[in-house]
Symmetry: D2
Subunit: 399 residues, 4 copies
């Protein structure tokens, strides 16, 4: 046993004394840059960014003195706060903002304390912070989605005339080209990503019951680079629902790509392989597992269940919900994290995908043996595929 | 055309002339005009509309003779077919199109049989028919959503200065105005409906493995008034996922409205009532139940579960999925039906909603007794609400 | 009349004498005997069965005269009522029971009218009717599940020593036997079905607010062969949640079986085929599609989304929910129907499954060529599989 | 500071250099002892516990020397390993077990390395570790559920004759007693918890393709106190599905309790209050928020979406799934954590709930004013409630 082993140290229910508790499955679920955005410290900093922007906006609007805003903004640095202590105190309020505002007030001169969090409510801070993090997450996500689409386009161009058997209902069907398959992936990724580019991530600045006049909100929006909503959206969660839906659609496309890769990489099919050796097995040394595809699917399969939570949580009471809003926080963070991870894995998967035209030809021969004449000279039947690929590359500007 | 064929007989929303077995719960789940679109006969007619458009497109493209197209289109009338028999035969093929095409061929002169369903596959017909029905459903849905938004706007305008207590976490909070609540409903409905106006409902015309050259598809799209996709989308289900997400978001907003109505209509709150007496009870004659709100919620609560099915079903194999595609048919139909019913009920709910400013004032007095000074003269605290309402009405063009 | 009434007109599974408008997709989604249970007429008859049992129970308890009970029971025949008219009137009450009770009262002598529906509320009738239909549905479902398990056991026994390649992460792995695969299916089906055998389907007889003393409920339970709950469960939906979960688990197992069949039936794998020719294609005559497996998956993939609806709907307010309860009706009916259809299709799928040991051997040769020595003489590595199969057959009493 | 801050310490995408990243929302989502079970270190220790048990079982079965088992078990201490490094290496294999086994082998004498992980596969270790953690989680969960049921029973007994208005469809209905409401909660909790007591949490010890002979598995099961399955259940996930369903049902009951508390605690209703002052607001000092109820709902509303993920993931391919299995790991951990948190919060909520019989009486007066005569002397109408409460307390052994 280890040096510090006692029976107590083996009790998993005992709170850990060490501050570090990495997730053992983060390589699968938290690949790429999105996950880090939703650490406790990053959430805290985003909330402080909102408090700072609010102070500046209030100063600009003449509601608090300019030097109060400066003093407040100067202490809006997560490094000054104990994330764990705030998280603990949050329990008594069902909100980390209540203890945060208290601490923030204690960090400025006493006479400035009332200028902190001026006219705002917990929901203003949490919702706006979530939108800030959401925007950063979407930037990362779209970077990976664009690279993924590019990698698909490259395959489409290179393999436009690489004949393979189309398959329907998991049966060999008729010849097509691998390039068309890859073009379909590309178009799917692009069409799904398009909706992520147009999300109206907006500031929340409604005050206690959503009736704050628009002025300060507009200024905060400008400070933070978020859009300004027509009305505070405290219990009208269209933004959250739309974002969830769009992420769910992208995840669905990523799952489709990864499912195709796992199927084409089967030993009996062998038409594609994940390059760089793929992943090993703890029991079978000969195997080369489609690790990236499996990881995409591991993430993507968790996403529809998160979307359903957010859509069902749109049923929010009055000016602030009792439960449905609070259920969003962790769900949205996880939804963005898992979609980010799926996108990062999918990009790697396609970027390193190796195509085996010879095996495609062998499988076409099996199709021919099933009596499909077109499989004998498949290249003669690719005109439609070629025209479609050209159109897709042109439409999506991948020439 | 069939013996009873008139142009009316081609209207898929027309009730079948044969008596049907009603669903005992249709008043709740199938209110409004959307449900009828998804009867067996209406689905069949939509498929026949696609076959007719395909024939005309093939003729225009020189693939089949023009008179063949005319002959085919002439028999594309659901009244000529036995829906039940087709449904039964569909089981052996996991598709109603296989028996339908057989019957369609038998309805034309023998030498024209090969011109029927030319170059198409089952999925072309079912997917395009679903998009046709979806477009009609969205038209109905948007009509109700627009009327609902108008009714909300009317309440917002009328009650802009009707003071009520805002409520957060289901606790009395601070004064606001009922008009702002109604304006929030209006904006939510409009923002959710906006995504339904821009759905890219597109033709599917990819042939057996999705590699059909684009020409015929463009002609079919023009015939049917659908858009033309960059590529066939047989196993790339972005369109279905986006439609599902957008319907889920609208349903979430409708649930929010109905939840508010049920809460405000509580006996102890009494701030709103469904007009026209509300619904009776089989056991308690004194009760006036918020029937429309309950019905909205009965529909809306079923919708996230349908969205999750469609998002999870985006993981489709190769050129046509074995199971995930076939799971869409009934799910999408039900999703549109239930959203249509929720919208119809929500419109009625708000159009007949009665507001009780006196009870609002009584509840503000309770808030005052809890020590909230603003509740004594709530009108003095409505400036923010008034400004927001004006902006909302102006933005959404409801002046 | 009692539940064992021999009158054919009382059999809720009997197709309505009036022609119905068929669902075009019923062959996929509504195979087997469960679907008919949830027609409008069958629901209505189940509600009338409850009203009749209630009348008898009230008479037995001395609450109403015995001849009143006889007179009421005599008219509790769905054939006497217009389903469509009741469905229509239900809209004004968010319940079909309100109009039904009115009509039922009009069918008996005026002085008996007050004895109809004595002390009951809409929810008593609908919930108890749902449990009655649920019990009948489970009987059908378990019949199919048992036959399916038997078919799996037959395959396990016959093919205990039929070597095939095991596959992990969709890669060829190490030899196993097809019999073990089939034994795994069998055990999965049996373990999932076990929970369906022990569902506590109970009467609901709480009266308007769930406070009715237990006597009448016990008598109604005895009349109908349902169990008696400790308390009325009007807004405590454990029974519905458990039933949903158990159906979801069975559906998950069925999906696993069908997924395996689609994968093993791939052209490149070819280890199993659905017998009887499989299904045809509207475009490709050479294809033999795994129609039963596809149909299982089409149903099973719709089921988790229905379970999530019912679990989320457990959040019910006070003594009767405003929306969440009403959302259950159609969802539970559809959940049972789709699970019934999936089970019927799965039974057919396995009963007619054809196994191709030669292709299994060919695929093992490919595994051997990948350097797996065990694949050369796979029979020498089946000891574990054989022992497991024996144990499984013995445990589940399939020797 | 602004959003464009250049300080590196503010870049949320930069991997944190500090090891600690507490979740800012853990007070809401991770209350009670369950959450700690699913830290990286606890998962790792559980996997090592399985490796140690496997070594001992192999020694007992004569497969490896006894001293090898001792040596292996001696190093199966998570304190000897770097969780973060294993998590990182896991990415290349879609499994943390591959790097773990490598490190474990390096910790024992070279000639013993082959005795580590003898005959096992990654899935054996992960699945068995998950079941170990699941068992511990259920123990904690049931402790809280039992205490919650006891607290409900106490309320039922104390308030058996405390009259209140029953409410249906959120309308005042007829008198009942608060004790009956509490008894309903108690029965719901007990019935939901019952299924958690009978989960067949079983060892997984099937080896690479699930064909390992039963001997070693039985010994490992005995070592770890888990049950032994009939067959390895690598891709037959009935256990996971049943556990998910049972947790979903308990969460549904907890949501019902919390929803009732939020409704009864409304300012206009005022019949219950969370004791100990409730939670404060960052903006409104007068408010006493139902923090525990809100927290229960925040957790419980996230649970159906996790159940749907696990049910949908039951569709697993062949002997080990490519994606669906890997999606389970984080989902199951989160499902147990959130249910554990909801149960801990619900116990606190009911244990400190304060009842206000005077307000109940006031609300009954409102009911009377609506014309309900029974509300004038509600005690005369509690016979049914009293009988039901007695039966419930007796049945559940809470006298």
């Amino acid at each position: 046993m280890g040096t510090d082993s006692t029976s107590a140290s083996r009790d998993p229910a005992r709170p850990s004394s060490s501050p570090s508790e990495p997730d053992l499955f983060s390589a699968t679920y938290a690949r790429g840059p999105v996950a880090a955005l939703f650490s406790g410290r990053s959430w805290l900093q985003a909330m402080l960014d909102v408090e700072a922007a609010l102070a500046r906006a209030c100063a600009a609007d003449g509601l608090i003195p300019a030097d109060a805003a400066d003093a407040i903004a100067a202490v809006c640095d997560a490094g000054r706060f104990d994330v764990g202590a705030i998280a603990l105190d949050a329990g008594a309020h069902a909100s980390p903002v209540v203890p945060l505002v208290g601490l923030l007030r204690s960090q400025v001169r006493e006479e400035l304390a009332d200028h902190v969090h001026f006219g705002a409510t917990s929901q203003d801070i949490i919702d706006t912070a979530a939108m800030l993090l959401g925007r950063r997450a979407l930037e990362h996500l779209l970077t990976d989605a664009d690279a993924l689409a590019q990698a698909c386009a490259n395959l489409a161009r290179t393999h436009r005339a690489t004949a393979m058997s189309g398959r329907t209902l998991l049966q060999l069907a008729l010849p097509t080209s691998f390039g068309l398959r890859a073009a379909g992936w590309m178009v799917g990724v692009r069409e799904a990503a398009a909706d992520l580019r147009t999300q109206g991530l907006a500031v929340q600045m409604g005050g206690p019951v959503g009736a704050r006049a628009p002025g300060v909100g507009a200024l905060v929006a400008a400070e933070l680079g978020l859009s300004e909503p027509v009305l505070p959206w405290q219990a009208i969660r269209v933004r959250v629902g739309k974002l969830a839906g769009a992420l769910g659609v992208l995840a669905g496309v990523l799952a489709k790509l990864a499912r195709d890769v796992t199927l084409l990489a089967q030993g009996e099919v062998g038409e594609v392989h994940e390059g760089s050796g793929g992943g090993g097995s703890s029991a079978m040394s000969h195997k080369s597992n489609p690790v990236a595809a499996v990881s995409v699917l591991a993430c993507a399969k968790r996403i529809p269940g998160l979307v359903v939570t957010l859509l069902a949580a749109m049923e929010q009471e009055h000016e602030r919900a009792a439960g449905a809003w609070q259920a969003e926080w962790g769900t949205l963070a996880q939804l963005l994290t898992l979609t980010g991870s799926a996108a990062a894995w999918a990009r790697e998967m396609v970027e390193r995908l190796e195509i085996d035209p010879a095996r495609m030809r062998e499988n076409l021969a099996r199709l021919e043996s099933e009596g499909v004449a077109e499989a004998a000279e498949p290249e003669r039947h690719l005109d439609g595929a070629l025209a479609l690929i050209e159109r897709a590359l042109e439409t999506e500007d991948f020439r």
